[in-house]
Structures are given as C-alpha cells and as structure tokens.
C-alpha cells in the first residue's frame, strides 16, 4: 500500500531527477548521436573562457565561505547571548528577512545599493574609492561584491539555524563550563563551537554546492553593467551560453555534468558520512 503513496513522487523523481541526469550524461558523451568519448569535455575545458570562469567561481567561494563561517558563528553566539527574549527574536528576524528577496530581486536591490548616485551608503562607496556603479563592480572586486549579496540574502537563515542548535546544548553543559570558570569566550571556543560542528559542516557543504552554481547574480549584474561583468563570468553562465548562443547542447551538457558531479559528490558525502541517514 505504501507503494501507491510514493508512486507519484517516484515518477517526479525519475522525470526531473534521474532522467535529466541520464540525458545529460548521454549528451555529454555523444555528438550527433555518435559516441565521442571525452571529446565534449576536452572541448569545453580547453575553451578560453573555462579556466577564467573556474577562477572566478573559486575566488568567490573562498571569500563567501570564510565570511559565512566566521560571521554566522559569531552572530549566532552573540544573538544567543542576548538575555531579553523580545530583543533576541527581533534581531533574528531582521537578520532573516532579506531571505525573502532571493533571486533576481535581491540582485536588483543591490544594483541600487552599489550605485553611488542613488545608494543609501554612497559615502561608504566613495570612501572605498568608487565613484560610479561600473567602478564598484570592477572584475577584481566582484568576488567580494557577490559574496556580500549572497551573505545578505542567505546568512540570516543560517544564523537562525545555529541559534537553534545553540539552544539545544543542555543547560548542565553550560553550567559546568561556568563553574569551571570559563568566560563567554572560552565557553564559545571549547563548548559551543565544537558542538556546532555538525551544523557548520552542513552549512559549508550546502553553500559550497550552491556557490559553484553561481548564475543569477553575475547574469543580472552583467545585464546592468554594459558588459563590465562578462556574460561568461561563472561556469553556469558558460553552460548557458553553450546551449543558447552556440547551440552546442553537448558542450552545455558536459559543463552541467561537471557541476552536477561536484554537487552530487558533496551531497552523497554528507548524507552517508555526516550522519543524516542515521535517523532512519
């Protein structure tokens, strides 16, 4: 009987999980329906735009992940230390609310914030040596800019999650630390952060997987910046160009597959090594 309940879902899983993956594998290893081995992969990797895109995404990931780990943990600890419940709830909610503006909306809002002529923080932008929008989004500044946008939309959710995890630390443990004479910093370093480790690794793995997929932010910035941000800044943009501009579905499938393997690898690693499957 259970089978009847899961059948519709299983069909969707096949149609929009398994089948597209298999089809992408098929396309990536063929050309005009003939098996070509690794030709498609060699072609896209040797494309002059491929390595720069890898570099862009890599640099962005480094900046973003480091700031995510440091600031999310710090802010979660700080909010958790607030005694007034109302204040703590309000602060968490304010941190969380930009999550409502994911996708193109958040990038659009940040276009305004980054444009010194209308920005609410134009003074700060001037201070950082930027007098125009084009100047703010110079290619060497982009990893930081993109990391700020991603942090703004996504960090609040993680702060709330870490806060929840901190709440789950038994009172006796915290009490024992206090009796042993540990101040807030020592408690954080030797008690709280080690107990957060599972959630931190969950955050890093999901963010790493999502970050490699970078698409909408550089895409909208590119549209807004008269090409200062190139159309092929990230790998997903490049895969998009292969499919839509060059009509090269095989090349596009090859890039997509490379990205999918990274995401799949991280996911499988976390599910089976990170203990997510233990609940069953």
């Amino acid at each position: 009987m259970g089978v009847a309940f899961v059948t519709p879902y299983t069909l969707f899983l096949l149609a929009f999980g398994a089948l597209p993956t298999l089809y992408a594998i098929y396309l990536a290893f063929t050309k005009n329906n003939a098996f070509v081995g690794l030709d498609n992969f060699v072609r896209v990797v040797q494309d002059y735009r491929f390595m720069p895109a890898v570099g862009h995404v890599g640099l962005y990931l480094i900046v973003w992940l480091i700031s995510l780990i440091v600031l999310v943990v710090l802010l979660a600890l700080a909010v958790h230390g607030v005694r007034s419940r109302r204040l703590s709830t309000s602060v968490r909610f304010i941190y969380y609310i930009p999550g409502a503006l994911a996708g193109a909306s958040s990038v659009l809002l940040w276009l305004f914030v980054l444009d010194p002529s209308v920005s609410p923080v134009s003074g700060l932008l001037n201070l950082l040596g930027s007098d125009s929008f084009v100047n703010t989004i110079q290619i060497d500044r982009l990893p930081v800019v993109l990391a700020i946008i991603a942090f703004w939309t996504g960090a609040g959710g993680w702060i709330v999650i870490m806060y929840g995890a901190l709440n789950n630390i038994p009172n006796e443990v915290m009490e024992a630390a206090r009796i042993d004479g540990a101040g807030p910093i020592k408690t954080a370093l030797f008690v709280q952060i080690p107990l957060l480790r599972k959630w931190i690794s969950y955050m890093v793995i999901l963010s790493l997987a999502a970050g490699t997929q970078l698409f909408v932010e550089p895409r909208v910035l590119s549209q807004a910046s008269r090409g200062v941000v190139p159309q092929d800044y990230s790998l997903n943009q490049l895969a998009f160009l292969f499919a839509f501009k060059q009509n090269d579905f095989n090349g596009s499938a090859a890039i997509s597959l490379l990205l999918l393997v990274v995401a799949l690898g991280l996911s499988v690693f976390f599910v089976f090594r990170g203990g997510l499957f233990e609940r069953d």
């Binding site: 519709p8 709330v160 596009s252």
Partner: protein, 289 residues
C-alpha cells in the same frame, strides 16, 4: 565587572547592531525609493520620504509599461508557484507519510535517493532538465515550469521527519484494527495531524518557486515569464543602466525600485506572517538555495 569583560560585551553589541543595519538598511531604502521622483532619488538624502504623488506617478509608469506587462508577469508567477504548490503537496505529503510509517520494497533506496537529491542545489539540474524538456518539445509551455517546480524532495524529507517523530505507528494500527482502509487511515488519522508540516512544506515550496530565476529564465521567456525574469528584463530598459538601449519605452529608477518591491511583496508578506516560526529554528535545514 572588570573593564576587559565590559569592553568585550560592548564590542559584541556594536557588531550585532552593525549587522542589524547591514541587513535592514537596503530594505528600508527599498520601501522609501518608490515614493520619490528620479530627481529626488538622485539628489535628496537616501532616507528621506518622497510624496504620495511621486508614488502614484511611479505606479503609473510601472503599470503602463507595455500595457501592464508587470501584471502579466505577476500573474504568471502566481500561477506557476500556486499550481506547483498544489502538486507539491499532493505528491510530497503522501510520499513522506509512506516513507515514515509504512513498509514497502525499495523504501530505503527511495529515502537515500531523496536525501541525496535534496542536497543538490536545484540550479544544478536546470540545464539538464532544459535539455530533456527540449527533447520532448515542452520548452515554452507552462508545464515546463510547473512540473519541475513540483519536484520537491526537501518537502518529502520534512514530511518524513515529521511523521516519523510526531505520529506513532500504534495510533495508525489502532485505526487499522477498527477496520479502516489504508487510504482512510491516511486521510482520517494522519492528515489531520499533518497541518504543521503541510504549512512548512507549503512555505518553502511557494517562496522558493516564487523567487526562482534560472529555471523559468531558460524555459519561458517573454510574456510567459514570471516576475523574477520580467524584472531583469525591465532592467534592460532603464536608461541609467543601459544608455545605449534605444527602446522606445523606458523605465526610470524609482519605477524599477517599485517593480522590485512588487516582485518581493508576496514573499515578504508571507515572511511577516510567519515571523514566529521562522526565528524559532524550526526552519533548520530550510535554506537550501
């Protein structure tokens, strides 16, 4: 309290307050900008309030763009996310229930696959799904958005966790002994208990799909696009960002800001109403992008 300790505490408060400003400032700005004229936006202070007339003018500018294209986009978004929400609930809730409380062959395999696929960012499958749907000539049809939107393994996982922790098998067995059929056990016993998880899955499905850009961007361009894709198109008709664009209809910055506000309004309202449960940590794991 010793001065070092006091200084440390003050520092923490400063950092916390600075991030309140960082997260809230752009949103406050977004609420104010649509009330201004372009001139006010460029010359006045960023946190001044414009006028009601200014808001009205921007409203007219935005809604008259291509004869109210913005309403078409918003309508598309509502249709895509709304229909996907219904399908998602109809397939995820029974599936999560069956994974948690029934036994069948392949249960563990299905569960493991669900966990793995759930952690893959949905952008990773966009181009493969596009290639697949273009092979079956579905690209451009509303189904090409609604069907992939309705595949939501995270919802199945949430339902599974909920039923396996909050509902006991004994309760269901009691109903079975009373002679209830499996379908009846599900609809009369399990479903009434499932309200919280239905709300949770609905929340993530709707907000995630409303904000999705990449998938509809490749599937349904132009008039069939949802607001997220439309908004980016609006951007290319803003002279400040694209001076070379020779389009006859242009959009000014304040109207673009109003459009941005339009595009996030439904989700922002849902967030405000779900405030209580959003900050309690119940959303653990829910920030999959």
């Amino acid at each position: 309290m010793d001065p070092g300790r006091w200084l440390g505490r003050a520092l923490i408060w400063v950092v916390m307050a600075a991030f309140v400003v960082f997260f809230a400032l752009p949103i406050v700005w977004l609420l104010l900008a649509p009330t201004k004229t372009l001139r006010q936006l460029l010359l006045d202070g960023p946190f001044t309030v414009g006028s009601f007339d200014g808001l009205l003018q921007n409203w007219m500018d935005l809604t008259s763009y291509q004869n109210g294209l913005i309403w078409t986009w918003l309508g598309n978004s509502a249709m895509y996310s709304g229909l996907a929400l219904i399908v998602t609930l109809a397939i995820s809730i029974p599936a999560g229930y069956a994974l948690a409380l029934t036994d069948f062959r392949g249960r563990r395999t299905l569960l493991a696959t669900t966990l793995v696929v759930m952690l893959i960012p949905n952008t990773a499958l966009v181009l493969p799904i596009f290639l697949e749907l273009s092979a079956v000539r579905l690209v451009g049809s509303p189904l090409s958005v609604i069907l992939p939107f309705s595949f939501f393994p995270f919802g199945v996982y949430l339902t599974y966790i909920y039923f396996s922790t909050a509902v006991s098998r004994d309760l269901l067995d009691a109903a079975r002994i009373d002679g209830a059929s499996e379908l009846r056990v599900f609809t009369r016993v399990a479903m009434p208990l499932a309200t919280p998880v239905i709300a949770l899955v609905g929340f993530f499905s709707f907000t995630g799909n409303w904000n999705n850009y990449f998938l509809p961007f490749v599937m349904v361009p132009g008039r069939k696009a949802p607001i997220q894709v439309g908004l980016a198109e609006l951007l290319s008709n803003v002279p400040q960002f694209n001076p070379t664009n020779a389009a006859s209809t242009t959009i000014d910055l304040p109207a673009l800001a109003l459009g941005t506000l339009f595009s996030v309004a439904p989700v922002l309202i849902i967030f405000l109403f779900s405030q209580r449960f959003l900050v309690t940590g119940m959303t653990a794991g829910g920030t999959k992008e």
